[in-house]
């Protein structure tokens, strides 16, 4: 139970950042003031300024939007595609089933970064393409999860009964199978969200992530690494926020898994 609370506490910090960024930002995140670069935390700039004199706090807040849209959007779409593919593969079995699953295995084995490299080089950098890259990464794990679950569920009494009184594929799929799979999907989703954010930071290190001037946590961390001497505290801030988000999602996932296991046993 505790992991669930710790997870939600951490994520609530991120959500608060998101809300503030929608309402109003302390100052214009892109306004540069070269004279005032690396200013220490002060009244006007709570977390100080970066190498262009831009306010770190507002950039961090704005970045929460891109971080969440990229990971939520990416993992969300990956989940949808993955689940549908997995459900179809598990439900139909036969040739279609094994073809889908073999494709998933290949996608699973393919190194993520190379995939992102090719995707981003073909489609160009920017938020949408990073989102696509993360979506493609998360499809296989969801497909496998759903495939396994559907196979297992075939032996459940209420599924067999539903098939015997001819409840119809739609009812079986959407009212029986998917609701039953939701807790597991929830767990996988939160783990994938965590790794989604990490992927964004990795991509921005290679210059393929969310591009300037739009701020992103990964981008800020990457830039900060070269100014560590000038402002040792500067890289800590994005690093800590990333840690908060990733650990938050992971703990949330563990919490849901634990609660789901209790509920079932």
């Amino acid at each position: 139970m505790k992991t669930l609370i710790t997870g939600t506490v951490m994520l609530s910090v991120i959500v608060i950042m998101l809300l503030i960024s929608w309402i109003d930002l302390p100052s214009d995140p892109n306004a540069m003031n070269i004279a005032n670069r690396f200013a220490p935390p002060s009244g006007e700039h709570w977390l100080g300024t970066d190498q262009y004199g831009r306010d770190i706090l507002s950039r961090l807040l704005l970045a929460s939007q891109s971080a969440l849209t990229v990971s939520l959007g990416g993992v969300g779409s990956g989940m949808l595609i993955g689940c549908i593919l997995g459900a179809v593969a598990g439900y139909m079995k036969g040739l279609i089933g094994s073809v889908i699953m073999r494709a998933m295995d290949v996608l699973f084995a393919f190194p993520n970064l190379l995939l992102a490299l090719m995707l981003v080089t073909v489609l160009g950098t920017g938020q949408v393409n990073v989102l696509l890259a993360i979506a493609v990464f998360s499809v296989p794990s969801f497909a496998r999860l759903m495939y396994g679950f559907v196979l297992e569920a075939q032996s459940y009494g209420y599924i067999k009964a539903a098939r015997s009184y001819n409840a119809g594929h739609a009812v079986i799929l959407f009212r029986h199978l998917i609701p039953a799979a939701l807790p597991r999907i929830g767990v996988q989703m939160s783990l994938a969200l965590g790794s989604g954010i990490l992927t964004e930071t990795a991509l921005s290190f290679l210059g393929l992530g969310v591009q300037p001037p739009h701020p992103s946590w990964g981008g800020m961390l990457n830039e900060a690494q070269s100014f560590m001497y000038l402002a040792p505290a500067y890289p800590l801030i994005p690093g800590f926020v990333i840690f908060l988000a990733v650990a938050g999602f992971n703990l949330l996932g563990d919490g849901i898994a634990a609660r789901h296991k209790e509920a079932v046993s």
């Binding site: 094994s98 290949v106 699973f108 084995a109 393919f110 190194p111 993520n112 970064l113 190379l114 490299l117 090719m118 080089t121 073909v122 965590g194 990490l198 930071t201 990795a202 290190f205 290679l206 990964g218 961390l221 990457n222 690494q225 560590m228 890289p235 690093g239 990333i242 840690f243 990733v246 650990a247 992971n250 703990l251």
Partner: protein, 320 residues
């Protein structure tokens, strides 16, 4: 034996498919290798000349056919950038990537196995809580960030390790491992985090099984009980994960190679894509596909070694 023959057949098919896909993708990419080499200062007429010289002006299907013919006979063509046969470049890089992969995987195993077992055996205690907290942190740290910290921490602040110059194994194992220690540690930490969770979960599951209680009530000595009974049964899950991690290590450590300045396959991959070095990329893609297939095969064979119930069928369904 016929099963292996079948796996070989699928492997060859897979390599062909993947190489065709990557060739097509590279052709789609805007940007042309010659112009990339010449940059903005090159004399204008030079671009056409070199394109003709490399045969890049022909339709790409023809180029693929040429490349394939060469590949089948073992000649993967020459890299535009390095003007050296692709096979030689890869072979030069292989020892470094292999030793990094093996070193990092062993280190990850050395960290994850004891901690995973300790957490499982003492599940629910403060030890378990502590290890799980550490795992959460290790997972949450982006690995390039960890790399930089280790680099600065242990090469500059406390000069324990040489920063970023790779010592090949030919110059002595000690120096070789010494130069690879930090990058391997960075990789190992990220991997170990995942492995610890995996070991702990599968071990806890096994410890609750009936045959463990039966071993206990048979009066078996604890050490034998844990190793011969509990550990062996808890290996199936982690092996799959280790297989995946080895695969990603061989081709996916671009970031660590950049930070620690290691001339590995990852960085070569990045340069090949950015410079649109066609033949180099094809060579690398084939190499990665082959290693993926080999690792998969090893993992499957390992399964049968560990678990007699598993029979390898055409459709790879495991009958556990």
């Amino acid at each position: 034996m016929s099963y292996l023959a079948q796996r070989l057949l699928i492997a060859i098919l897979l390599v062909f498919l993947v190489s065709f896909a990557s060739f097509a993708v590279l052709m789609l990419l805007p940007g042309d290798p010659v112009r990339l080499m010449l940059g903005t200062e090159a004399p204008p007429h030079l671009v056409e000349e070199l394109r003709a010289q490399y045969g890049l002006d022909r339709p790409w299907l023809l180029q693929y056919a040429d490349w394939l013919a060469g590949a089948v006979s073992g000649n993967l063509g020459e890299s535009f950038i390095y003007k050296m046969p692709v096979t030689q470049i890869i072979v030069d890089r292989l020892p470094m990537t292999l030793s990094l992969t093996i070193f990092a995987s062993l280190m990850a195993l050395l960290i994850a196995l004891p901690l995973g077992i300790w957490a499982a055996v003492k599940r629910g205690s403060w030890v378990d809580g502590f290890i799980q907290a550490v795992v959460q942190i290790w997972i949450a740290i982006p690995n390039f960030w960890l790399g930089i910290l280790l680099l600065l921490g242990f090469t500059v602040m406390i000069p324990l390790f040489p920063p970023g110059n790779f010592v090949p194994i030919s110059e002595g194992l000690g120096a070789h491992l010494h130069s690879l220690f930090l990058p391997a540690l960075t990789l190992a930490i990220a991997e170990a985090a995942v492995l610890i969770r995996m070991f702990r979960a599968s071990l806890v599951e096994v410890l609750n099984k009936d045959f463990m209680t039966f071993a206990h009530t048979k009066g078996l000595p604890t050490r034998k009980k844990y190793i011969r009974y509990a550990l062996r049964n808890s290996l199936i899950g982690p092996i799959t994960v280790i297989g995946l991690q080895v695969m990603s290590l061989i081709s996916g450590v671009i970031i660590i190679e950049q930070i620690f300045n290691l001339p590995g396959l990852g960085r070569l991959l990045l340069i090949a894509v950015q410079q649109r070095d066609l033949f180099l990329l094809q060579g690398l893609v084939i190499f990665i596909t082959v290693t993926v297939i080999l690792v998969n095969l090893c993992v499957d064979l390992l399964y049968t070694r560990i678990d007699p119930r598993i029979q390898l069928h055409a459709t790879k369904r495991r009958t556990t």
